[in-house]
Symmetry: none
Subunit: 188 residues, 4 copies
DNA sequence: TTATAAGCGAGACGGTACGTCACGTCTTGGA
DNA sequence: TCCAAGACGTGACGTACCGTCTCGCTTATAA
């Protein structure tokens, strides 16, 4: 309904920055629409005009700052995979980053539309990048022909996600390496 | 502080039932302490006296109804695993059950103590049961000696959890079977 | 500040009509500047450019439609007074007209400038007309010389206004006649 | 709906005091429910629980402090009437008191239930007191038998109210005396 | 066998945030 | 330059729940 062409870019940035600031600073608990509006020096209505809720604001804030995904490609799928899995595990292990991601994940569980957005805008690009790398490896004969690569990607990230979200075990480099071993055992 | 021996069992049941009823009926949105108290015909204080928050109430309600875990054991690890994975996938695919579990999972993301409880009381028994079955298979030589069985369990449930929670794909019997194939490829 | 010579007459009419329409239709509650602008198909600024507030708009709208005051003059002050008092009482008794007048009166209580306008443009002409008729009667010897005619006019309209605004009693023809009797008793 | 027996008297007083304080201090403009709640150190809901709106709060605050009405009774109706009319006119002429009364009156114009309350609890006692005094005078032969005393009371207060509310003239002692003269001329 | 203390239902309380409404100002693009 | 359209900062609205509290009323030990 609102006319996006007349949108105030300054306010948009201020809101996104305020959201990130509160997220990093005082944590997810302080993340109310009112607090964002106050910190951004903006009317609440200006937030409600453009976003359906706080989850959507955070998503936009994170998506705005999300860097393009680049995967290593040395030709050696094991080495490349090991690097990306180690990095992913380290990222989830970082308390700062983890807190934000947990909060956003919680939000997606209560709001399907938001969940779709998070999946498609934040998550999917990562998964696709890995899938493409695996595809190349498969064509190079490093992965057996029968392997379903979509399953393979989930075989990698699923356990990490599971362990991180449910805290069933430590997220260490050793864990990352063990995971890679199992996954490659399944794919070769 | 409160004297558990004088606790009113009728109220306890009414609260748990009300929580389950609201969860199933009107959904997680209606799940406020006030709503539970009203539906149970109970004072709010009676809830706060015995539980720290609504997450704990739901947990108790679910734990009360949780059935003991029993795994098939035909001696054929592939067949047994296929059955348990199929059942798990089907359970997550069921919208009714899924909604409740999603809501509870969301709650655990905001409350670490609750998360620990959920993991230890609801989740761990399931994982341990599978781990024990895998252990037996390993001792029977159906699984290679080097395989880390804790990793193996996560290799099974991680992808399902990932796909279910992030809705990255359908939860079908075909998916379950493909997953088992990959996992067994990693373990044999 | 604005250049009145370039004013759009169509918009002016549309605004005034919209104000009257909303007043009559959905009542005073719906009488916001935004609603008037929307109904008139006019930008809010066009209203703020030419009027200081909604009270002024209503005033203009009513003043536009106000009919010239004409008093009967049969030579018999009692008969003439009875007619005008009956008419006034009937007017105040009419729910439709009453609602609008009440709303406008409420507005004047919060805005002195508007109150002055209402008094001078809507009310005064009526009072002066009666005063003039009384003056003629006084010169004709139908009213005693000592009587202060300004007081006399208020002696007539004050009680009606009081009864109407505070709803202390019914506004009937019988009441009108009783009032005339008392007033004439004071003036003869 | 709320159970009045459990009402917190301290909060009730604090709210009423806050309302009066804001009314006297910063004026009617600052008289929002939020401001009252803040000044009283009370939750907004506690106001909404017991009053339908700010008009009702003010009414209660004023009614609480309203002193019992006592009229002079020297036996001389003219002297007594002159005193009460002078006092009434002086009261209306006082800017402080006038502002509050105007604001409350405005409120009653938009809320019939409130209007009824104001009339019955604040206004009526005053009018009845005067009416009773007139009644005594009528029985003493100081007022003619035919005079309708309800009309007579309105004949006194109507013009004052009219002049005060519409600001058609000054509210002076001279005006009060002139009014008394006219009214007595009508009643004798 | 009573008193006395706990749990209990009910719900008032001080708060916080919600999402909405209208205010009056400001900006944009078309006539 | 005026206009329609409507985004903006502001601030109050009335509502929903939070978690704490106080009130009488059972109900079940313990003097």
């Amino acid at each position: 309904m609102p006319d996006a062409s007349r949108r105030n870019e300054q306010s948009r940035r201020a809101i996104l920055d305020a959201a990130l600031g509160l997220l990093a600073g005082t944590g997810y608990a302080k993340l109310t629409i009112e607090a964002i509006a106050a910190r951004a020096g903006v009317g609440k209505q200006t937030i409600y005009r453009w976003w359906p809720g706080k989850g959507a604001v955070i998503l936009d804030a994170l998506a705005e700052n999300a860097t393009a995904v680049t995967l290593p490609d040395t030709g050696d799928i094991e080495a490349d995979l090991r690097e990306v899995v180690r990095a992913t595990v380290a990222e989830f292990a970082d308390p700062r980053q983890s807190a934000t991601t947990r909060a956003l994940t919680a939000e997606t569980l209560a709001d399907d539309a938001l969940g779709d957005q998070v999946r498609d805008r934040l998550l999917r690009p990562q998964l696709v990048a890995v899938r493409d790398r695996l595809d190349k490896a498969q064509r190079a004969g490093q992965i057996r022909d029968g392997a379903d690569l979509d399953h393979a990607v989930e075989l990698i990230f699923g356990p990490i996600f599971h362990r991180w979200l449910l805290r069933t075990g430590p997220l260490t480099r050793r864990y990352a390496d063990g995971l890679v071993d199992h996954v490659l055992a399944a794919l070769r």
